[in-house]
Symmetry: C2
């Protein structure tokens, strides 16, 4: 039996959403973060090949890495239209956003998370200085690149309603966590109306609603 | 005509290697990094949707993001066995490493690069302190996770010769840049003999050799 090992407030929400959208049969095990460190519990760290969420188990297979899990699950549902097939006009845009979600956008978000975690942990005597250095790195390095990416998202979502083109696809599911993180951190301002419309469409999608119900949290990302 | 816009010492070497392995017909335009800042020239930044390398142009299509380009090109060569098909026993391992290359491993390498670039640029009065903070972050956060990933690579490459299983695949091409970066930074020690054998196999692969010849550089990654 397929089992999703879901860590609260984490990237694994996407797999929960995907399973709901596919109408899959699966077991769901929810793991709580440590209330002090916010890290995943050891039981999940030990299970996962990389010590991270999401993880799925399926018979003898133990698989980590969000987009690998997405492709693995889509392989099992060839009738699903969540992955535009070769030759489909939406295929190129789909591939771009599917891979950009983890290859570029989550890298920025992870860096942002690391900076905040480090700034919290350094001795208070140097905290102000470290925060200032990280602020400059964010302003000069992360923000301009993220803006370029969001402008591209705004353009594409203005032309077609979803990241993968005319229909909801796995590219939207892949992008959801990075987009929610970017919104939570104030990067998706009112300059991006098409991105905000996309959030609305996503939040209203029936499979998203039922994944939210199973997740039971207000937010997809960990509140700071 | 398909054109690869290749930035020297960058992730775009992988696309050059893929095109050679596919025996594709393509134009190659090589861009030099700025000798002071080491950044890509404006001509490439303007062309790329994200301001990054690699970029390919194909008729009206302009595409960035390494793994998106890899999937896009593989779509055009259905007879190639560089992407194990659904049902192939190697498919799961292939998907894991293809996505892990950018989704996890390159995130660590990018963070490492950013730390080094920042440490170089801060005023010398605080340079020692900043270097120490980054060193601690690397030791506590990046290194343990990277080791877990490399141990998994070592296990998989001990069982089968390539990241995608029994044959050279796009997973090897995707992993090549992150692995070369990790090796260059001293992370791939002699504790990983199967990883070193993989490097040897990769460097001896005829398509890799001819990509190297077209690239003309000693190293895939930018020497520090």
């Amino acid at each position: 039996m397929l089992t999703l090992h879901h860590l609260e407030y984490s990237q694994s929400f996407r797999i929960l959403w995907l399973l709901e959208e596919l109408g899959a049969e699966y077991d769901l095990i929810v793991y709580q973060r440590d209330c002090k460190s916010s890290l995943a519990p050891d039981s999940l760290k030990t299970l996962s090949p990389l010590g991270t969420a999401p993880v799925i188990t399926d018979g003898e297979i133990v698989m980590a890495e969000s987009n690998a899990i997405i492709d693995y699950l889509l392989d099992q549902y060839p009738e699903s239209d969540l992955r535009p097939v070769v030759g489909d006009l939406d295929r190129t845009q789909y591939l771009f956003w599917l891979h950009t979600s983890q290859g570029t956008m989550m890298t920025f978000m992870t860096m942002d998370t690391v900076f905040q975690a480090v700034a919290k942990r350094v001795p208070w005597l140097i905290r102000g200085l470290i925060k200032e250095v990280f602020k400059q790195v964010t302003l000069r390095l992360i923000k301009p690149r993220l803006q370029k990416l969001l402008q591209r998202a705004e353009l594409d979502l203005g032309n077609k309603p979803w990241f993968g083109g005319k229909k909801l696809s796995a590219a939207d599911i892949a992008m959801s966590y990075a987009m929610e993180s970017a919104k939570y951190r104030g990067y998706i301002t009112e300059e991006y109306p098409h991105c905000h419309s996309w959030f609305k469409r996503m939040h209203e999608s029936p499979s998203f609603v039922s994944a939210k119900k199973k997740d039971g949290k207000e937010s997809m990302v960990l509140p700071l």
